[in-house]
């Protein structure tokens, strides 16, 4: 007779829903979805104990493609929703997802303060340096000289540096990954989920429709030449001086995550009691 108490081994397929993604063929977000589901299988918590929260944009469709609880929120407010969820249900693994436009522009303020609050959640940004869903406008991470009909000659505006901002604002884990390396990305995402506090993973995810030249990213990315550090000063220097294509965990800090007292010891029944009418 089988031992019914034995834990069921979860696979990435257990976290993929039956909905087929409608991203453009060639989009990096396909492999990010694969990396996320693989990371969740590595973590080993069942789908009903995980919530995937997003805002608006191509990449923000990702919750529907998983079997986890999902919340497809409003533009730029994924971290607000995710923060609220984690504060109310600290027992859940909360993964917030989105793109560079959603997270760094309209959601930029939420990004900084989520880093500062340091709740135990993971924020994954699929960065393609463009607004894809609305047909190719420059985003906060677009290069200043990216020439196109909407911004002839480029915007001339300095690119946002999300990793530096995250570190300075207090994120407890900062990493960069690449969609073309799905297994390596899965390992980084799993490490981010396990790391206490606010974990930020920037995933370079090419938009082959509006930025076809990003197919060349696969030739530019390279493993970070140094090991992760818990020293924010070293991490800052490293992130400020890298070429934007260093892949790996760049900072893993020791800040104590924010926890609502007495949330750390509260049971699910006690939490539910707080919401009883």
């Amino acid at each position: 007779m089988n031992d019914m108490t034995e834990a069921v081994k979860l696979t990435a397929a257990d976290f993929k829903s039956d909905y087929k993604p409608i991203w453009c063929p060639g989009c990096g977000d396909y492999t990010v979805l694969g990396s996320l589901t693989k990371a969740l299988s590595i973590i080993g918590r069942p789908p009903h104990e995980v919530a995937v929260v997003s805002g608006i944009g191509c990449s923000s469709r990702i919750p529907a493609y998983t079997t986890c609880y999902g919340f497809h929120g409003v533009h730029g407010r994924a971290l607000a929703a995710g923060t609220g969820l984690k504060a109310a249900r600290p027992d859940l693994t909360v993964v917030v997802t989105g793109g560079d436009g959603d997270g760094y522009s309209i959601g930029g303020n939420h990004f900084m303060h989520a880093c500062r609050r340091n709740l135990d959640l993971t924020y994954i940004v699929m960065d393609n340096h463009v607004y894809g869903m609305t047909k190719g406008q420059a985003s906060p991470t677009t290069e200043p000289d990216w020439d196109n009909k909407l911004s002839p000659g480029g915007t001339g505006i300095r690119s946002f540096h999300p990793l530096v901002i995250a570190l300075a604002a207090g994120a407890n884990f900062v990493a960069r990954a690449f969609s073309g390396d799905p297994n390596g990305t899965a390992e980084i995402v799993a490490q981010a989920i396990r790391h206490p506090g606010f974990s930020f993973v920037e995933i370079l995810s090419p938009c082959v429709t509006f930025r076809p030249e990003q197919r060349g990213w696969k030739d530019l990315v390279h493993p970070a030449p140094v090991a992760e550090t818990n020293d924010p000063a070293r991490a800052a220097r490293r992130i400020m001086t890298d070429d934007g294509f260093n892949i790996g965990v760049l900072y893993a800090g020791n800040r104590t995550p924010y926890a609502r007292t007495p949330a750390a010891s509260a049971t699910l029944a006690q939490i539910e009691q707080e919401f009883a009418l």
Binding site: P25, G26, G28, G34, S179, G180, G184, P206, T209, P223
Partner: protein, 179 residues
């Protein structure tokens, strides 16, 4: 991401089980990617290319089943994935997603499949060339020959498929309004 192998670094699997475990990983990942590409093309109503990718997934699945049968492994056997044994981030027989285009023709799809089979052949040739034991070398050589057969089959298939004109990607109703 996988670190590039150092020149001359030992990469040979330690045993037959080790080699075949990596072969199984390669074939499983190829199946999964071809299925993913077929879904992608179906969603974008490129049914001809979708069918081709689905067929390729079927062929690779046969290879999976052959390895399982040869090794006496169960269908759900878990094998450790040795990242770094191949120099690219993904395993050799996987078609890169970024090479997809919603208007691509079967000719393009077969070109990608051909490249994937050639990478697999080169990988097993390298395994055979660096094998530590005769059993591993023989198994790697057998895998290389099978991949070489696949290369030949895809080439034959390609010869029957017309190469599209240079303007194949022109869309009168494009998703973009920028150049």
């Amino acid at each position: 991401m996988n670190r590039p192998r150092k020149p001359g670094a030992p990469l040979a699997p330690r045993s037959l089980e080790d080699l075949m475990g990596q072969a199984l990983t390669i074939e499983r990942e190829a199946v999964a990617r071809y299925e993913e590409l077929a879904d992608m093309m179906e969603t974008h109503n490129n049914l001809e290319v979708a069918a081709l990718f689905r067929k390729m997934a079927g062929y690779e699945q046969l290879h999976v089943e052959q390895i399982l049968a040869d090794m006496g492994w169960a269908a759900d056997v878990v094998v450790p994935r040795h990242s770094g044994i191949w120099s690219s981030p993904e395993s050799p027989e996987v078609v890169p997603i970024e090479e997809m285009h919603y208007l691509m023709h079967p000719w393009h799809a077969l070109q990608l499949a051909l490249s994937a089979e050639q990478r697999a052949e080169a990988f097993f040739a390298e395994m055979a060339g660096t094998a530590a034991t005769e059993a591993v070398r023989a198994a790697a050589e057998e895998m290389r020959q099978e991949e070489a057969e696949h290369v030949a089959l895809v080439r034959e298939w390609l010869a029957k498929v017309p190469q599209p004109e240079g303007d194949w990607s022109v869309d009168p109703d494009p998703p973009r309004y920028i150049d």
